[in-house]
Symmetry: C2
Subunit: 275 residues, 2 copies
Protein backbone atom coordinates (compact mmCIF):
# COMPACT_ATOMS: atom_id res chain seq x y z
CA UNK A 1 0.00 0.00 0.00
CA UNK A 2 1.18 3.51 -0.76
CA UNK A 3 2.39 5.33 2.34
CA UNK A 4 0.93 8.76 3.14
CA UNK A 5 2.73 11.86 1.87
CA UNK A 6 4.27 14.08 4.57
CA UNK A 7 3.53 17.81 4.37
CA UNK A 8 4.14 20.87 6.48
CA UNK A 9 0.77 22.05 7.75
CA UNK A 10 -2.63 20.47 8.05
CA UNK A 11 -5.28 19.51 5.49
CA UNK A 12 -6.35 22.61 3.59
CA UNK A 13 -2.82 24.10 3.70
CA UNK A 14 -1.09 25.10 0.47
CA UNK A 15 1.15 22.05 0.81
CA UNK A 16 -1.99 19.92 0.91
CA UNK A 17 -3.31 21.66 -2.22
CA UNK A 18 -0.09 20.63 -3.98
CA UNK A 19 -0.61 17.00 -2.93
CA UNK A 20 -4.18 17.08 -4.32
CA UNK A 21 -2.99 18.57 -7.62
CA UNK A 22 0.27 16.67 -8.12
CA UNK A 23 -0.99 13.30 -6.91
CA UNK A 24 -4.76 13.17 -6.41
CA UNK A 25 -7.46 14.19 -3.96
CA UNK A 26 -7.50 10.76 -2.35
CA UNK A 27 -3.84 10.83 -1.29
CA UNK A 28 -3.35 10.39 2.41
CA UNK A 29 -1.15 12.94 4.16
CA UNK A 30 0.90 13.10 7.36
CA UNK A 31 0.33 16.55 8.88
CA UNK A 32 3.62 17.90 10.29
CA UNK A 33 4.04 21.17 12.17
CA UNK A 34 7.62 21.83 11.02
CA UNK A 35 9.77 21.06 7.98
CA UNK A 36 12.12 19.17 10.35
CA UNK A 37 9.28 16.79 11.21
CA UNK A 38 8.47 16.37 7.52
CA UNK A 39 12.07 15.28 6.91
CA UNK A 40 12.05 12.98 9.94
CA UNK A 41 8.90 11.27 8.63
CA UNK A 42 10.70 10.57 5.35
CA UNK A 43 13.94 9.38 6.99
CA UNK A 44 12.01 7.11 9.37
CA UNK A 45 10.24 5.63 6.32
CA UNK A 46 6.82 6.49 7.73
CA UNK A 47 6.50 8.27 4.40
CA UNK A 48 8.12 7.59 1.03
CA UNK A 49 7.67 11.08 -0.42
CA UNK A 50 7.19 14.56 0.90
CA UNK A 51 6.14 17.95 -0.47
CA UNK A 52 8.15 21.06 0.42
CA UNK A 53 7.95 24.71 -0.61
CA UNK A 54 11.31 25.72 -2.04
CA UNK A 55 10.94 29.27 -3.35
CA UNK A 56 8.39 31.90 -4.13
CA UNK A 57 8.27 34.82 -6.48
CA UNK A 58 8.19 37.37 -3.64
CA UNK A 59 10.60 36.18 -0.98
CA UNK A 60 12.97 34.08 -3.08
CA UNK A 61 14.50 30.78 -2.07
CA UNK A 62 13.75 29.10 1.22
CA UNK A 63 17.40 28.35 1.96
CA UNK A 64 16.80 26.26 5.11
CA UNK A 65 14.70 23.84 3.00
CA UNK A 66 17.50 23.58 0.44
CA UNK A 67 19.82 22.74 3.36
CA UNK A 68 17.43 20.05 4.64
CA UNK A 69 17.43 18.33 1.23
CA UNK A 70 21.18 18.72 0.81
CA UNK A 71 22.31 17.72 4.32
CA UNK A 72 20.04 14.68 4.45
CA UNK A 73 21.12 13.54 0.96
CA UNK A 74 17.56 13.47 -0.36
CA UNK A 75 16.46 13.74 -3.99
CA UNK A 76 14.06 16.10 -5.73
CA UNK A 77 11.92 13.93 -8.03
CA UNK A 78 9.31 16.46 -9.13
CA UNK A 79 8.14 20.05 -8.90
CA UNK A 80 4.82 21.88 -8.84
CA UNK A 81 4.00 25.59 -9.16
CA UNK A 82 1.02 26.74 -7.13
CA UNK A 83 -0.58 30.13 -7.63
CA UNK A 84 -1.12 31.11 -4.00
CA UNK A 85 -4.23 33.21 -3.44
CA UNK A 86 -4.79 34.32 0.13
CA UNK A 87 -8.40 34.50 1.36
CA UNK A 88 -9.43 36.22 4.57
CA UNK A 89 -11.88 33.96 6.42
CA UNK A 90 -13.81 33.79 9.69
CA UNK A 91 -16.93 32.26 11.26
CA UNK A 92 -20.14 32.77 9.28
CA UNK A 93 -21.68 35.44 11.50
CA UNK A 94 -18.59 37.68 11.46
CA UNK A 95 -18.05 40.86 9.41
CA UNK A 96 -14.60 42.35 8.84
CA UNK A 97 -15.44 45.03 11.44
CA UNK A 98 -15.81 42.29 14.07
CA UNK A 99 -12.31 41.00 13.49
CA UNK A 100 -9.73 42.00 16.11
CA UNK A 101 -6.89 39.65 15.21
CA UNK A 102 -5.70 37.87 12.11
CA UNK A 103 -3.52 34.83 12.73
CA UNK A 104 -1.45 33.31 9.94
CA UNK A 105 1.96 32.17 8.81
CA UNK A 106 4.57 35.00 8.80
CA UNK A 107 4.98 34.69 5.00
CA UNK A 108 1.20 35.05 4.47
CA UNK A 109 1.07 38.07 6.80
CA UNK A 110 3.99 39.65 4.94
CA UNK A 111 2.31 39.12 1.58
CA UNK A 112 -1.01 40.65 2.75
CA UNK A 113 0.39 43.49 4.85
CA UNK A 114 -0.82 46.26 2.53
CA UNK A 115 -4.45 45.06 2.66
CA UNK A 116 -4.55 45.56 6.45
CA UNK A 117 -3.40 49.19 6.28
CA UNK A 118 -7.09 50.03 5.73
CA UNK A 119 -7.96 48.15 8.94
CA UNK A 120 -5.65 49.53 11.62
CA UNK A 121 -7.79 48.00 14.39
CA UNK A 122 -6.77 44.49 13.27
CA UNK A 123 -3.72 42.99 14.97
CA UNK A 124 -1.56 40.63 12.91
CA UNK A 125 -0.37 37.59 14.86
CA UNK A 126 2.14 35.03 13.62
CA UNK A 127 1.03 31.40 13.60
CA UNK A 128 2.61 28.12 12.50
CA UNK A 129 0.34 27.26 9.61
CA UNK A 130 -2.31 29.01 7.52
CA UNK A 131 -4.87 26.18 7.53
CA UNK A 132 -4.31 25.22 11.17
CA UNK A 133 -5.69 28.62 12.21
CA UNK A 134 -8.78 28.04 10.01
CA UNK A 135 -9.30 24.67 11.69
CA UNK A 136 -8.95 26.19 15.18
CA UNK A 137 -11.42 29.00 14.41
CA UNK A 138 -13.90 26.40 13.23
CA UNK A 139 -13.37 23.83 16.01
CA UNK A 140 -13.27 26.32 18.86
CA UNK A 141 -15.83 28.69 17.28
CA UNK A 142 -13.43 31.60 17.80
CA UNK A 143 -15.08 34.98 17.33
CA UNK A 144 -13.10 38.12 16.44
CA UNK A 145 -10.32 36.08 14.84
CA UNK A 146 -9.75 35.61 11.13
CA UNK A 147 -7.40 33.34 9.20
CA UNK A 148 -5.55 33.95 5.96
CA UNK A 149 -5.65 30.66 4.09
CA UNK A 150 -6.69 28.87 0.91
CA UNK A 151 -10.19 28.39 -0.54
CA UNK A 152 -9.75 24.70 0.21
CA UNK A 153 -9.29 25.52 3.90
CA UNK A 154 -12.43 27.70 3.93
CA UNK A 155 -14.46 24.88 2.36
CA UNK A 156 -12.93 22.18 4.56
CA UNK A 157 -13.52 24.01 7.84
CA UNK A 158 -16.79 25.73 6.89
CA UNK A 159 -15.55 29.31 7.16
CA UNK A 160 -16.88 32.36 5.34
CA UNK A 161 -14.54 34.27 3.01
CA UNK A 162 -14.56 37.97 4.00
CA UNK A 163 -12.15 39.14 1.28
CA UNK A 164 -10.64 37.33 -1.68
CA UNK A 165 -7.04 37.36 -2.92
CA UNK A 166 -5.86 39.88 -0.37
CA UNK A 167 -2.15 39.49 -1.11
CA UNK A 168 -0.51 42.64 -2.46
CA UNK A 169 1.02 41.04 -5.53
CA UNK A 170 -1.78 39.27 -7.36
CA UNK A 171 0.49 36.81 -9.18
CA UNK A 172 1.94 34.88 -6.31
CA UNK A 173 3.53 31.69 -7.47
CA UNK A 174 5.28 29.30 -5.13
CA UNK A 175 7.44 26.44 -6.28
CA UNK A 176 7.05 23.19 -4.39
CA UNK A 177 9.19 20.10 -4.83
CA UNK A 178 8.43 16.44 -4.31
CA UNK A 179 11.29 14.79 -2.44
CA UNK A 180 12.24 11.15 -1.88
CA UNK A 181 15.06 9.38 -0.08
CA UNK A 182 16.56 8.22 -3.37
CA UNK A 183 16.26 9.23 -6.99
CA UNK A 184 13.99 6.78 -8.81
CA UNK A 185 13.20 8.60 -12.03
CA UNK A 186 14.31 5.85 -14.36
CA UNK A 187 12.64 7.21 -17.45
CA UNK A 188 15.22 9.62 -18.85
CA UNK A 189 12.86 10.59 -21.66
CA UNK A 190 10.66 12.39 -19.13
CA UNK A 191 13.48 14.24 -17.40
CA UNK A 192 14.16 17.75 -18.69
CA UNK A 193 15.17 19.66 -15.58
CA UNK A 194 17.83 19.27 -12.90
CA UNK A 195 18.90 20.98 -9.68
CA UNK A 196 22.49 20.82 -8.58
CA UNK A 197 24.99 22.39 -6.24
CA UNK A 198 28.69 23.03 -6.61
CA UNK A 199 31.49 25.03 -5.07
CA UNK A 200 34.07 27.33 -6.60
CA UNK A 201 37.19 29.06 -5.40
CA UNK A 202 36.86 32.83 -5.40
CA UNK A 203 38.79 33.20 -8.65
CA UNK A 204 37.89 35.78 -11.25
CA UNK A 205 35.86 34.31 -14.09
CA UNK A 206 35.37 30.87 -12.50
CA UNK A 207 31.59 31.10 -12.56
CA UNK A 208 31.54 32.57 -16.08
CA UNK A 209 33.60 29.60 -17.39
CA UNK A 210 31.21 27.16 -15.81
CA UNK A 211 28.14 28.90 -17.23
CA UNK A 212 29.80 28.87 -20.64
CA UNK A 213 29.94 25.06 -20.37
CA UNK A 214 26.25 24.86 -19.49
CA UNK A 215 25.44 27.08 -22.45
CA UNK A 216 27.68 25.08 -24.81
CA UNK A 217 25.87 21.91 -23.72
CA UNK A 218 22.49 23.50 -24.63
CA UNK A 219 21.33 23.83 -21.04
CA UNK A 220 19.11 26.74 -20.00
CA UNK A 221 19.66 28.30 -16.61
CA UNK A 222 16.39 28.91 -14.75
CA UNK A 223 17.83 29.72 -11.35
CA UNK A 224 21.14 30.62 -9.79
CA UNK A 225 21.96 31.50 -6.23
CA UNK A 226 25.31 31.91 -4.53
CA UNK A 227 25.76 31.28 -0.83
CA UNK A 228 29.02 31.98 0.94
CA UNK A 229 30.27 28.73 2.49
CA UNK A 230 30.07 28.88 6.23
CA UNK A 231 33.48 28.33 7.87
CA UNK A 232 35.30 28.71 4.54
CA UNK A 233 35.96 32.35 3.68
CA UNK A 234 36.09 33.17 -0.04
CA UNK A 235 34.53 29.90 -1.04
CA UNK A 236 31.08 29.95 -2.55
CA UNK A 237 28.40 27.33 -3.02
CA UNK A 238 26.06 27.76 -5.98
CA UNK A 239 22.58 26.34 -6.32
CA UNK A 240 21.58 26.10 -9.96
CA UNK A 241 18.54 24.83 -11.85
CA UNK A 242 18.76 23.99 -15.55
CA UNK A 243 16.32 22.80 -18.19
CA UNK A 244 17.25 20.85 -21.31
CA UNK A 245 15.74 19.08 -24.32
CA UNK A 246 18.03 16.05 -24.44
CA UNK A 247 19.19 14.08 -21.43
CA UNK A 248 22.47 13.28 -23.16
CA UNK A 249 23.36 17.00 -23.27
CA UNK A 250 22.76 17.21 -19.56
CA UNK A 251 24.89 14.11 -18.97
CA UNK A 252 27.72 15.69 -20.92
CA UNK A 253 27.49 18.90 -18.88
CA UNK A 254 27.41 16.83 -15.70
CA UNK A 255 30.63 15.03 -16.52
CA UNK A 256 32.41 18.33 -17.28
CA UNK A 257 31.04 20.01 -14.15
CA UNK A 258 32.27 17.12 -12.00
CA UNK A 259 35.78 17.94 -13.16
CA UNK A 260 35.57 21.76 -13.24
CA UNK A 261 33.69 22.45 -10.00
CA UNK A 262 34.32 21.23 -6.49
CA UNK A 263 31.85 19.02 -4.66
CA UNK A 264 29.44 18.90 -7.60
CA UNK A 265 26.23 17.26 -6.39
CA UNK A 266 22.93 16.57 -8.12
CA UNK A 267 19.99 17.46 -5.88
CA UNK A 268 17.42 16.10 -8.30
CA UNK A 269 16.47 15.24 -11.89
CA UNK A 270 12.82 15.61 -12.84
CA UNK A 271 10.21 16.87 -15.24
CA UNK A 272 9.96 20.65 -15.68
CA UNK A 273 6.52 21.75 -14.47
CA UNK A 274 6.82 25.37 -15.54
CA UNK A 275 4.50 26.09 -18.43
CA UNK B 1 23.46 68.43 13.73
CA UNK B 2 23.63 64.85 12.59
CA UNK B 3 20.21 63.19 12.49
CA UNK B 4 19.73 59.88 14.33
CA UNK B 5 20.22 56.64 12.41
CA UNK B 6 17.08 54.55 11.90
CA UNK B 7 17.32 50.84 12.77
CA UNK B 8 14.98 47.90 13.03
CA UNK B 9 14.76 46.93 16.66
CA UNK B 10 15.61 48.67 19.89
CA UNK B 11 18.89 49.56 21.57
CA UNK B 12 20.88 46.39 22.19
CA UNK B 13 19.61 44.79 18.96
CA UNK B 14 22.09 43.50 16.39
CA UNK B 15 21.23 46.49 14.18
CA UNK B 16 22.22 48.74 17.08
CA UNK B 17 25.52 46.85 17.46
CA UNK B 18 26.23 47.64 13.81
CA UNK B 19 25.58 51.36 14.42
CA UNK B 20 27.99 51.32 17.38
CA UNK B 21 30.67 49.59 15.32
CA UNK B 22 30.24 51.31 11.94
CA UNK B 23 29.64 54.81 13.32
CA UNK B 24 30.34 55.10 17.06
CA UNK B 25 28.81 54.36 20.45
CA UNK B 26 27.46 57.89 20.76
CA UNK B 27 25.33 57.73 17.61
CA UNK B 28 21.68 58.40 18.26
CA UNK B 29 19.20 55.86 16.86
CA UNK B 30 15.52 55.82 15.90
CA UNK B 31 14.10 52.51 17.12
CA UNK B 32 11.66 51.11 14.51
CA UNK B 33 9.61 47.96 14.88
CA UNK B 34 9.55 47.08 11.15
CA UNK B 35 11.80 47.58 8.14
CA UNK B 36 8.91 49.52 6.52
CA UNK B 37 9.09 52.05 9.35
CA UNK B 38 12.87 52.27 8.95
CA UNK B 39 12.38 53.17 5.27
CA UNK B 40 9.63 55.66 6.09
CA UNK B 41 11.93 57.41 8.59
CA UNK B 42 14.51 57.83 5.82
CA UNK B 43 12.02 58.98 3.18
CA UNK B 44 10.45 61.49 5.60
CA UNK B 45 13.97 62.84 6.26
CA UNK B 46 13.64 62.19 9.99
CA UNK B 47 16.82 60.24 9.39
CA UNK B 48 19.57 60.62 6.77
CA UNK B 49 20.90 57.09 6.97
CA UNK B 50 19.64 53.71 8.03
CA UNK B 51 21.11 50.30 8.81
CA UNK B 52 19.48 47.17 7.36
CA UNK B 53 20.35 43.47 7.46
CA UNK B 54 20.62 42.23 3.87
CA UNK B 55 21.79 38.62 4.05
CA UNK B 56 23.20 36.05 6.39
CA UNK B 57 25.32 33.00 5.96
CA UNK B 58 22.54 30.64 7.05
CA UNK B 59 19.31 31.89 5.51
CA UNK B 60 20.69 33.74 2.50
CA UNK B 61 19.40 37.04 1.13
CA UNK B 62 16.61 38.95 2.78
CA UNK B 63 14.80 39.58 -0.50
CA UNK B 64 12.10 41.91 0.92
CA UNK B 65 14.87 44.27 2.10
CA UNK B 66 16.43 44.26 -1.36
CA UNK B 67 12.99 45.17 -2.71
CA UNK B 68 12.65 48.04 -0.22
CA UNK B 69 15.96 49.54 -1.37
CA UNK B 70 15.17 48.96 -5.04
CA UNK B 71 11.54 50.13 -5.08
CA UNK B 72 12.27 53.28 -3.08
CA UNK B 73 15.30 54.13 -5.25
CA UNK B 74 17.66 54.27 -2.27
CA UNK B 75 21.43 53.81 -2.34
CA UNK B 76 23.71 51.47 -0.44
CA UNK B 77 26.67 53.57 0.75
CA UNK B 78 28.41 51.09 3.03
CA UNK B 79 28.38 47.58 4.44
CA UNK B 80 29.27 45.91 7.71
CA UNK B 81 29.64 42.22 8.63
CA UNK B 82 28.59 41.30 12.14
CA UNK B 83 29.39 37.97 13.71
CA UNK B 84 26.07 37.24 15.39
CA UNK B 85 26.39 35.31 18.64
CA UNK B 86 23.11 34.45 20.32
CA UNK B 87 23.05 34.50 24.13
CA UNK B 88 20.25 33.02 26.21
CA UNK B 89 19.36 35.47 28.97
CA UNK B 90 16.86 35.93 31.81
CA UNK B 91 16.41 37.67 35.15
CA UNK B 92 19.25 37.18 37.63
CA UNK B 93 17.51 34.71 39.91
CA UNK B 94 16.47 32.35 37.11
CA UNK B 95 18.11 29.03 36.16
CA UNK B 96 17.52 27.37 32.78
CA UNK B 97 15.18 24.89 34.54
CA UNK B 98 12.92 27.79 35.55
CA UNK B 99 12.46 28.92 31.94
CA UNK B 100 9.13 27.97 30.39
CA UNK B 101 9.21 30.14 27.26
CA UNK B 102 11.87 31.69 25.09
CA UNK B 103 10.74 34.67 23.02
CA UNK B 104 12.81 35.93 20.10
CA UNK B 105 12.90 36.86 16.45
CA UNK B 106 11.97 33.92 14.14
CA UNK B 107 15.46 33.98 12.58
CA UNK B 108 17.11 33.74 16.02
CA UNK B 109 14.79 30.89 17.04
CA UNK B 110 15.60 29.07 13.78
CA UNK B 111 19.33 29.46 14.33
CA UNK B 112 19.17 28.16 17.92
CA UNK B 113 16.60 25.38 17.41
CA UNK B 114 19.05 22.52 18.01
CA UNK B 115 20.10 23.88 21.43
CA UNK B 116 16.52 23.62 22.71
CA UNK B 117 16.16 19.95 21.77
CA UNK B 118 17.78 19.22 25.16
CA UNK B 119 15.08 21.34 26.86
CA UNK B 120 11.76 20.01 25.55
CA UNK B 121 9.85 21.81 28.36
CA UNK B 122 10.78 25.20 26.85
CA UNK B 123 8.30 26.66 24.39
CA UNK B 124 9.69 28.81 21.55
CA UNK B 125 7.61 31.91 20.85
CA UNK B 126 8.13 34.29 17.93
CA UNK B 127 8.66 37.95 18.76
CA UNK B 128 9.38 41.09 16.72
CA UNK B 129 12.86 41.86 17.96
CA UNK B 130 15.59 40.09 19.93
CA UNK B 131 16.50 43.01 22.20
CA UNK B 132 12.91 44.17 22.73
CA UNK B 133 12.20 40.91 24.57
CA UNK B 134 15.26 41.46 26.79
CA UNK B 135 13.98 44.97 27.59
CA UNK B 136 10.49 43.64 28.44
CA UNK B 137 11.85 40.89 30.71
CA UNK B 138 13.85 43.50 32.56
CA UNK B 139 11.17 46.23 32.77
CA UNK B 140 8.30 43.90 33.68
CA UNK B 141 10.49 41.56 35.76
CA UNK B 142 9.14 38.59 33.80
CA UNK B 143 9.94 35.25 35.42
CA UNK B 144 10.03 31.99 33.46
CA UNK B 145 10.78 33.81 30.21
CA UNK B 146 14.15 34.05 28.50
CA UNK B 147 15.36 36.09 25.54
CA UNK B 148 17.85 35.21 22.82
CA UNK B 149 19.80 38.38 22.15
CA UNK B 150 23.22 40.02 22.05
CA UNK B 151 25.70 40.54 24.90
CA UNK B 152 25.03 44.25 24.50
CA UNK B 153 21.34 43.63 25.25
CA UNK B 154 22.19 41.60 28.38
CA UNK B 155 24.43 44.38 29.65
CA UNK B 156 21.99 47.15 28.72
CA UNK B 157 18.97 45.55 30.39
CA UNK B 158 20.81 43.90 33.31
CA UNK B 159 20.01 40.30 32.43
CA UNK B 160 22.01 37.21 33.30
CA UNK B 161 23.41 35.07 30.47
CA UNK B 162 22.30 31.45 31.02
CA UNK B 163 24.07 30.01 27.97
CA UNK B 164 26.52 31.56 25.51
CA UNK B 165 26.57 31.32 21.70
CA UNK B 166 23.66 28.91 21.52
CA UNK B 167 23.25 29.11 17.75
CA UNK B 168 23.87 25.80 15.96
CA UNK B 169 26.38 27.16 13.47
CA UNK B 170 29.05 28.91 15.47
CA UNK B 171 30.20 31.17 12.61
CA UNK B 172 27.12 33.22 12.00
CA UNK B 173 27.90 36.26 9.94
CA UNK B 174 25.24 38.71 8.88
CA UNK B 175 25.80 41.40 6.28
CA UNK B 176 24.28 44.78 7.05
CA UNK B 177 24.18 47.75 4.69
CA UNK B 178 24.12 51.46 5.36
CA UNK B 179 21.53 53.10 3.12
CA UNK B 180 20.87 56.73 2.16
CA UNK B 181 18.36 58.49 -0.07
CA UNK B 182 21.09 59.34 -2.59
CA UNK B 183 24.56 58.14 -3.36
CA UNK B 184 27.11 60.55 -1.93
CA UNK B 185 30.32 58.55 -2.05
CA UNK B 186 32.32 61.09 -4.01
CA UNK B 187 35.70 59.63 -3.27
CA UNK B 188 36.11 57.03 -6.02
CA UNK B 189 39.46 55.98 -4.58
CA UNK B 190 37.67 54.45 -1.59
CA UNK B 191 35.06 52.59 -3.63
CA UNK B 192 35.92 48.98 -4.45
CA UNK B 193 32.56 47.24 -4.33
CA UNK B 194 29.20 47.69 -6.04
CA UNK B 195 25.73 46.14 -5.98
CA UNK B 196 23.55 46.18 -9.06
CA UNK B 197 20.49 44.67 -10.59
CA UNK B 198 19.65 43.84 -14.20
CA UNK B 199 17.21 41.82 -16.23
CA UNK B 200 17.76 39.31 -19.01
CA UNK B 201 15.58 37.54 -21.50
CA UNK B 202 15.46 33.79 -20.95
CA UNK B 203 17.93 33.10 -23.74
CA UNK B 204 20.55 30.42 -23.53
CA UNK B 205 23.95 31.79 -22.57
CA UNK B 206 22.78 35.34 -21.85
CA UNK B 207 24.02 35.29 -18.27
CA UNK B 208 27.29 33.60 -19.22
CA UNK B 209 28.02 36.39 -21.78
CA UNK B 210 27.41 39.02 -19.17
CA UNK B 211 29.62 37.34 -16.58
CA UNK B 212 32.34 37.09 -19.21
CA UNK B 213 32.22 40.89 -19.51
CA UNK B 214 32.54 41.31 -15.74
CA UNK B 215 35.49 38.95 -15.74
CA UNK B 216 37.12 40.70 -18.74
CA UNK B 217 36.80 44.00 -16.87
CA UNK B 218 38.65 42.51 -13.86
CA UNK B 219 35.60 42.47 -11.62
CA UNK B 220 35.17 39.72 -9.00
CA UNK B 221 31.71 38.39 -8.38
CA UNK B 222 30.94 38.02 -4.66
CA UNK B 223 27.23 37.36 -4.93
CA UNK B 224 24.66 36.41 -7.54
CA UNK B 225 20.99 35.71 -7.13
CA UNK B 226 18.32 35.27 -9.77
CA UNK B 227 14.69 36.10 -9.10
CA UNK B 228 11.94 35.38 -11.60
CA UNK B 229 10.25 38.67 -12.51
CA UNK B 230 6.74 38.76 -11.16
CA UNK B 231 4.16 39.31 -13.92
CA UNK B 232 6.72 38.63 -16.65
CA UNK B 233 7.15 34.92 -17.30
CA UNK B 234 10.59 33.83 -18.52
CA UNK B 235 12.20 37.09 -17.59
CA UNK B 236 14.72 37.09 -14.77
CA UNK B 237 16.13 39.79 -12.53
CA UNK B 238 19.64 39.28 -11.20
CA UNK B 239 21.12 40.84 -8.09
CA UNK B 240 24.90 40.90 -8.29
CA UNK B 241 27.72 42.18 -6.06
CA UNK B 242 31.19 42.76 -7.46
CA UNK B 243 34.52 43.88 -6.03
CA UNK B 244 37.29 45.58 -8.01
CA UNK B 245 40.68 47.23 -7.60
CA UNK B 246 40.23 50.13 -10.00
CA UNK B 247 37.10 52.25 -10.31
CA UNK B 248 37.77 52.80 -14.02
CA UNK B 249 37.42 49.03 -14.65
CA UNK B 250 34.08 49.09 -12.93
CA UNK B 251 33.00 52.13 -14.96
CA UNK B 252 33.89 50.30 -18.17
CA UNK B 253 31.86 47.24 -17.12
CA UNK B 254 28.96 49.50 -16.18
CA UNK B 255 28.82 51.10 -19.60
CA UNK B 256 28.82 47.69 -21.33
CA UNK B 257 26.22 46.26 -18.95
CA UNK B 258 23.93 49.23 -19.62
CA UNK B 259 23.89 48.17 -23.28
CA UNK B 260 23.85 44.38 -22.85
CA UNK B 261 21.33 43.97 -20.02
CA UNK B 262 17.86 45.38 -19.62
CA UNK B 263 17.01 47.82 -16.84
CA UNK B 264 20.53 47.86 -15.48
CA UNK B 265 20.50 49.72 -12.16
CA UNK B 266 23.19 50.44 -9.60
CA UNK B 267 21.95 49.84 -6.04
CA UNK B 268 25.11 51.15 -4.43
CA UNK B 269 28.85 51.81 -4.70
CA UNK B 270 30.87 51.55 -1.50
CA UNK B 271 33.91 50.25 0.32
CA UNK B 272 34.22 46.48 0.66
CA UNK B 273 34.10 45.59 4.35
CA UNK B 274 34.81 41.89 3.96
CA UNK B 275 38.23 41.08 5.28
Amino acid sequence: MKKPIAIQGVKGSFHHEVVCNYFDNQSDVVECMTFDTVIKTLLDEASDEIVMALENSIAGSIIPNYALIDNNHLSIVGEYYLDIQHQLMALNNQAIEDIKEVHSHPMALLQCKAFFKAYPHIKLVEAKDTAEVARQISEQQLKGIAAIASKTAAALYGLNILAQSIQTIKENETRFVIVKRVQDNNNQALINKASFKFELEHKRGSLASLLNVLSDCQLNLTKIQSLPKIDTPWKYAFFVDVTFDAYKNYEKAKSIMTIMAENFKVLGEYKNAKR
